[in-house]
Symmetry: C2
Subunit: 305 residues, 2 copies
């Protein structure tokens, strides 16, 4: 910053006003993306990608085994077996969550078999911070002592307790549960479609986040019953399939890259979002909150057709 400032001072001394006005302003997010290098991006492991296919299109979810190994393993088992195929979106609650699963899950006579998957899993609400790389975000957070990123997942940390957990930002995917902490199995999944309900952090197992296709979930009609449940079967939105990318033939896979968060480029992107220098802004803000930091996703340029 000080180098850039000195350079502009020198240009100011040398240049006429018209040229001075052309000196580059601090970068915007568009600038940071345009100058990013291939090494700033990563392709998620196909074993950690779920394709939720709906009539309206594909939602791509990245699973987070580093946070919820048992839930992710169970979700892989369910996806392998085609458990969700022909099940449905059961619930859309405004400014909260979309949730899917078996509408007959509470009826032991009618519910779909979980096959080889486990019916109950231990709570995986948080994990040890030992050995976990954490990219700190400088921000005053209402809920956690520290916030930042673990891989491409927004997360929070409590150094005093040595714990880290995923945060309920827009697009977070979690495993629905009953009142018992160990009552989830990953068969019922929800996605945050509204303002971050951070009070759910450390109260439920987060299993991943949506990388692409959020708009297909967030624009679904809200259900009329309490908690946004649909009241009639015809209102439910059918799931064509949920498959693990690793189980999908290469030709049917969606090419996708996510920006790495452990790079100087991502720090520049945070800075560009913290200090807004797009022409529209009057007040550059100077602050940013965890769930407002974008983690860019793109189609890998090499295979754009």
């Amino acid at each position: 910053m000080s180098l850039s400032f000195s350079l502009r001072l020198i240009l100011g001394l040398l240049a006429p006003t018209a040229l001075l006005a052309q000196t580059a302003p601090p970068p915007t997010m568009a600038d940071v993306l345009a100058t990013s290098q291939p090494s700033d991006w990563q392709q998620p492991d196909p074993d950690n990608l779920l394709y939720l296919d709906l009539a309206a299109g594909r939602v791509i979810i990245e699973l987070a085994p580093q946070f919820a190994p048992e839930h992710v393993a169970n979700i892989r088992t369910l996806a392998h077996a085609g458990y969700w195929n022909d099940l449905a979106i059961l619930r859309v609650q405004d400014n909260y969550v979309v949730q899917w699963g078996d509408p007959n899950a509470e009826d032991s006579a009618k519910r779909k078999s979980l096959g080889d998957a486990k019916t109950k899993l231990p709570a995986e609400f948080e994990r040890s911070s030992d050995g976990l790389a954490f990219t700190l975000l400088d921000s005053r957070d209402a809920y956690a002592p520290e916030v930042g990123f673990v891989g491409d997942f927004p997360a929070a940390r409590d150094a005093a307790r040595g714990k880290v957990w995923m945060t309920h930002c827009y697009g977070l995917v979690g495993a629905g549960r009953d009142n018992a902490a160990d009552s989830s199995n990953g068969a019922e999944l929800y996605v945050v479609i509204g303002h971050a309900p951070r009070h759910l952090d450390r109260n439920i197992t987060s299993v991943g986040r949506v990388l692409q296709g959020m708009e297909l979930l967030s624009s679904m009609p809200r259900g009329p019953a309490p908690m946004g449940f649909y009241t009639e079967a015809a209102q439910r939105i059918p799931i064509r399939s949920i498959r693990l990318a690793a189980d999908v033939p290469a030709a049917d896979r969606s090419a996708i890259e996510v920006m790495r968060t452990d790079t100087a480029t991502f720090q520049r992107l945070i800075q560009a979002r913290r200090e807004r220098h797009e022409q529209w802004f009057v007040e550059p803000v100077g602050k940013i909150e965890l769930c407002n930091v974008p983690i860019p996703v793109r189609t890998p340029p090499a295979i754009v057709k």
Copy 2:
């Protein structure tokens, strides 16, 4: 709290275990609502209520003349004249805003006349804190020194500068503008439908917030063009009318009450949302962020039919 605690201690000494287990837990939001009194609620002034009527139903907006007197006056003029009737929702950007207005606003030959309304207004991004009652919320905010409520509007305050402004929480209504700070007139309005874009605070004029019907806006199909603009006229969602409640015959008005924020009841509600004692919660949280504080709205009980 200490009285209640002493009472429970005494009950603990007197009572057998089964009775002790029945002592009342701290209240939940449902408890606070169930015990609220008529004086905890207020009916917004019909001069400050806008009805946005769509084929899908009615959206009710409360205007905030205490923050944006010139914009609110212009919006009243536009509503009186039926300016928005047969205009449309132009833009739905996921996790951001819905925006409506005249699709031909940029075309001087085709655009709809603003009639007696002004074409440009001064920026009303913030206002003086002098004489303005502000209910402080104890919360670490990423963007502002202090946050809380002014009437039933979430707001922020900078005591050092003596300024207060409305915050871009879910449901906030603002006046779209071009790059010039004084280029808005209230004819193009937007509503926040995603995670609070607080970087817009103090960069644009906020004019009110949606009290009811958010789900009609938030579930609209996202537009395919940049910023969520619809690309074809047929994609736009028609506005039947936008009317000021004061201009609507009494029989067609929507009865609505909003919880007051300057009461002990509202403080109990905040506490119930800060410390979650519903049975489902494992971790009571103990924290709350401004945009996660609900400001309850209801149909006045006396006129429930």
